[in-house]
């Protein structure tokens, strides 16, 4: 692979990379999908044949150069193929979030002007039909799963497999045209358009060129020395840039195998069966796994519990050092080897991480305990920092320089600088072309020299050169008395407790900080079960006095930790309440990637914030909720408000007086 580093001479598009892989790796597996209980696989040669037939089918339906093709569904090989097939026709694939409700989908479909939509199943087709009376430019709908589709009007709708069959039948008619279009694809043409979920406002269409994707894939594959032998599990949303880079960019560059799970519910089983060597997950997946391990250990026999805790202590002490190749004494090495035999090995196998060579987490800060847990088991988990506009990679951690509180050094080919305001800027070959039909946003994000504002505030650590991110630049504010307010910093500390799923801290322009807390139903529910606390609903558990006591303990611990940092000691949480409902993307409170939408929450729960500051003990509230099918309902609740002790930092009082 390294021999191709003269990239401009190499393949200039994803279809060209596919042709290269057919020559190099013809008989090696390119895709696998578990279906009917068995892993079905396609070699590069077979996949290329399917993709070509699909592209011919698309031509027969009249797909033109520059058409936008929306793809909506869970990760399945045929949907990945449809993206590459669209590229072959000179069209631009636009993957969408499959859990978006029709309303959100309508905006994106309208904005990109899609002529073709490829749907995973009936559910997605229904949503497209629902918006079709407003959006008239959709000419063809293709669907993958035939189930329940028999009775639909098929005058402008086709099963993907029929399109493929049509393409095969028409290969003489369309073959020459397709070859011509594939040959036309160049480095500066659009490879894919991805919509950013956007913590504020409407989603923006990020246009990424073949150069962006291929250069980034090449550099990142070389950085981690990925080969064609890697196995990845494709389970994160196809609309997310990370999945496009991992499952298409890097997979095509390195020629490794993309495995698709059977369904979202079987993901963990499928993960174990595949045993990926290269794995990406947002922190919440690692948190969830750790929580379930700990819950299961609570129920284990005493001997097993003892063994587990005994050897985990050893792992915590020496595991990360052994992983980083640092010197460790012989006795510790022996203890670690024994632990590996009895505990770490079987545990990694249960988690599906036995073969992980490179693992990444990103998107949110990960709790140091969680991070260290996986590292101590010998799993090479690292952090990266990136965004859609950068084709993912801005900074990442090299092997041997991994810590939970930094996001690493600039990725190869990426320049990073910190503006006077503290905001992080970068410039790289992966930097996006533009926001589609939004010159204004493009201009305000990317300047003439190609520097892009990330919107995050951060700084380079002295000595190591690692980047540390504090918060969203626009969220970092001042409190009434001028002290620094960085909500995310506190929220992350709160969220490191397994019992807390989400936290939202308020305090900009106020004299003190307060917080909303969302409990984690799995962790708190389990705790309630073990402590014989009865509850009948989420709402009742959330309002339980003992739960409040427990959360107060967590908040006070965070306050102590926040107080240690003189710059941020003003961010201690004085009062908090536990929300009666989980914050949800369907209600607009989170983005589809589960980031908190601060303004919307502040607006929606205005009454609760008022109560946090006016000193009341309880507050009555009615909240509108949206069900998964789009209907709306109301939840009524009376919430308690609790005070938390704060720590007066040394010197603070002096300064105030």
């Amino acid at each position: 692979m390294a021999t191709d580093s003269a990239a401009s001479a190499g393949p200039q598009s994803i279809p060209a990379l596919l042709a290269r892989n057919v020559e190099r790796y013809a008989a090696l597996p390119a895709y696998r999908e578990k279906e009917f209980g068995i892993w079905q696989s396609w070699t590069w040669a077979e996949a290329a044949e399917e993709i070509r037939a699909m592209a011919l089918g698309f031509l027969s339906l009249g797909m033109e150069r520059g058409d936008y093709v929306a793809i909506i569904g869970r990760n399945r090989p045929a949907l990945y193929w449809s993206m590459v097939a669209a590229q072959m026709c000179g069209a631009i694939p636009v993957p969408l979030y499959q859990d978006a409700v029709a309303e959100e989908m309508a905006y994106v479909l309208d904005h990109c002007g899609a002529r073709f939509v490829v749907c995973g199943d009936q559910e997605q087709v229904d949503k497209v039909i629902e918006v079709q009376d407003r959006i008239h430019h959709i000419e063809h709908v293709a669907y993958l799963d035939k189930r329940g589709m028999r009775k639909y009007d098929h005058s402008r709708m086709n099963a993907l497999e029929d399109i493929v069959a049509e393409g095969r039948a028409g290969h003489h008619r369309y073959g020459a045209e397709l070859d011509k279009r594939i040959a036309e694809l160049g480095y500066d043409q659009t490879c894919v358009m991805l919509y950013t979920s956007g913590t504020t406002g409407k989603p923006k269409g990020v246009v990424l060129s073949n150069r962006n994707i291929i250069e980034t894939s090449r550099a990142s594959v070389e950085f981690d020395r990925l080969t064609h032998n890697e196995e990845v599990l494709a389970y994160l949303p196809m609309a997310w840039v990370g999945d496009f880079i991992f499952s298409i960019g890097q997979a095509y560059w390195a020629g490794f195998t993309v495995n698709c799970p059977e369904s979202a519910e079987t993901m963990m089983t499928d993960l174990r069966e595949i045993g990926p060597t290269y794995f990406f997950a947002p922190p919440r997946v690692f948190e969830g796994q750790l929580t379930s391990v700990m819950i299961r250990m609570e129920d284990a026999s005493r001997l097993k519990k003892w063994l587990f805790h005994r050897f985990m202590a050893v792992a915590r002490r020496v595991g990360p050092a052994i992983l980083d190749g640092k010197p460790v004494g012989g006795g510790d090495r022996l203890a670690y080897a024994l632990g590996n035999l009895f505990i770490y090995g079987p545990l990694k196998n249960t988690l599906g991480f036995s073969r992980v060579r490179v693992g990444y987490t990103a998107g949110e800060a990960i709790g140091p305990e969680i991070f260290d847990f996986y590292r101590s088991l010998g799993i090479n988990l690292k952090q990266l920092y990136g965004q859609t506009e950068a084709s993912v990679f801005i900074t990442q951690q090299p092997d041997g320089e991994v810590r939970s509180d930094t996001v690493g050094v600039p990725s190869p080919g990426v320049e990073v600088r910190i503006a006077d305001s503290g905001e992080v800027y970068y410039r790289s070959p992966g930097t996006f072309v533009e926001y589609y039909k939004n010159a204004e946003s493009t201009a305000s994000t990317k300047n003439a020299e190609g520097w892009v504002a990330t919107g995050d505030a951060g700084f380079f650590e002295e000595g190591t050169g690692h980047l540390r991110i504090i918060d969203r630049a626009k969220d970092v504010g001042k409190m009434a008395d001028g002290r620094l307010f960085a909500p995310k910093y506190v929220e992350n500390k709160l969220k490191f407790f397994p019992n807390i799923l989400e936290a939202v801290v308020f305090g900009a322009g106020r004299d003190r900080c307060t917080a909303f807390i969302n409990i984690d139903l799995t962790a708190v529910g389990n705790w309630a079960e073990r402590n014989n606390i009865a509850y009948s609903s989420y709402q009742e558990l959330a309002g339980h006095p003992k739960v409040y006591d427990m959360i107060r303990g967590h908040v006070e611990e965070v306050n102590r930790s926040v107080a240690e940092d003189p710059m941020l000691s003003g961010c201690q949480v004085h009062r908090f309440l536990i929300l009666h409902k989980e914050l949800d993307a369907d209600d607009g409170e989170l983005t589809r990637t589960r980031k908190v939408r601060r303004n919307i929450i502040a607006e929606k729960f205005d009454d609760l914030i008022g109560a946090l500051y006016d000193g009341s003990e309880t507050v009555y509230t009615e909240t509108e909720v949206t069900y998964e099918d789009g209907r709306k309902g109301k939840i009524k609740a009376t919430l308690k408000i609790a005070d938390a002790a704060i720590v007066e930092p040394a010197g603070q009082r002096m300064a105030a007086e």
Partner: protein, 273 residues
């Protein structure tokens, strides 16, 4: 029985319903002195969803048991696929192509979901016990073929994630779905569902309704069901038989039945003067 007997009809949503699959002629069923079913006649047509409804104790379950051959009526005739059916053993009924689910779930609790559904394939396995025990030759091939069918049903009913889970550990709603899966595994001509939605919440009912419609749509399976939830029945079925005190008081499309005064009286009660 009537003028539609051979051609069938077309439903409101455009499905073609075929000829008569099963016909009940003047059925009377007694338990000692109790008359559970009194002179009832109706038919079930190929490809339709036929509901039997009625207040508690109306004789619905008895009727379903007559259809399934578990009860033999004292009077009347049961015709299935053009032949008059005599008294039968349960396995003979199954071989005829009738499968059912039960009101009180009847699964093998200690066995996995997969194994439970495999039992539904029993009638499609021809190899002997010894060959199966040794898992050799034909038996091996046969198991693979049957497993494939079972996997299609697992995929269809979206229960991949519990494939290997023992049934005893599943919640009620999923057990109902597994039971449906087992009945489907037999590839029945006629599927009998005894209160498929009993004890379910709204979401589970919606799921189950969708599966019933999809089964009918994809496999063309004729379905006869008993159900209490009126909303579900009226939405799902093509034709409805209404029973009260062992007698048939209504028969027709959901709309016809809804307008039928006898049915309204039976359900809402009527003042005795």
């Amino acid at each position: 029985m009537n003028d539609m007997s051979t051609e069938g009809y077309t439903t409101a949503d455009g499905r073609k319903i075929g000829g008569v699959l099963m016909e009940m002629k003047n059925i009377t069923l007694r338990f000692g002195g109790v008359v559970a079913i009194k002179d009832i006649s109706f038919d079930i047509r190929e490809g339709e969803i036929r509901a039997i409804i009625g207040p508690n104790g109306a004789g619905k379950s008895s009727m379903l048991n007559v259809i399934s051959g578990f009860y033999v009526p004292q009077e009347g005739e049961v015709w299935f696929r053009g032949y008059r059916r005599g008294p039968m053993r349960p396995y003979q009924v199954a071989r005829l192509g009738i499968a059912r689910t039960f009101q009180n779930i009847a699964l093998f609790e200690g066995m996995s979901v997969l194994d439970n559904i495999m039992t539904g394939r029993l009638n499609h396995m021809k190899s002997g016990m010894l060959a199966q025990a040794l898992w050799w030759g034909k038996a091996e091939r046969e198991e693979s073929e049957n497993r494939e069918q079972v996997e299609k049903i697992i995929d269809f009913l979206e229960i991949q994630n519990i494939r290997k889970t023992p049934v005893g550990r599943l919640p009620y709603g999923l057990k109902k779905r597994v039971e449906l899966a087992r009945a489907l595994a037999a590839e029945p001509k006629l599927l009998l569902l005894d209160e498929p939605m009993a004890g379910m919440n709204v979401e589970e009912k919606e799921d189950m309704s969708r599966f019933i419609l999809d089964v009918n749509d994809e496999f063309g399976t004729t379905i006869a069901l008993i159900e209490h939830d009126m909303g579900v029945v009226m939405d799902l079925s093509d034709r409805v038989v209404v029973m009260d005190y062992g007698k048939k008081i209504g028969d027709g499309t959901p709309d016809e039945v809804r307008r039928n005064q006898d049915v309204i009286d039976a359900y809402l009660g009527v003042a005795h003067d």
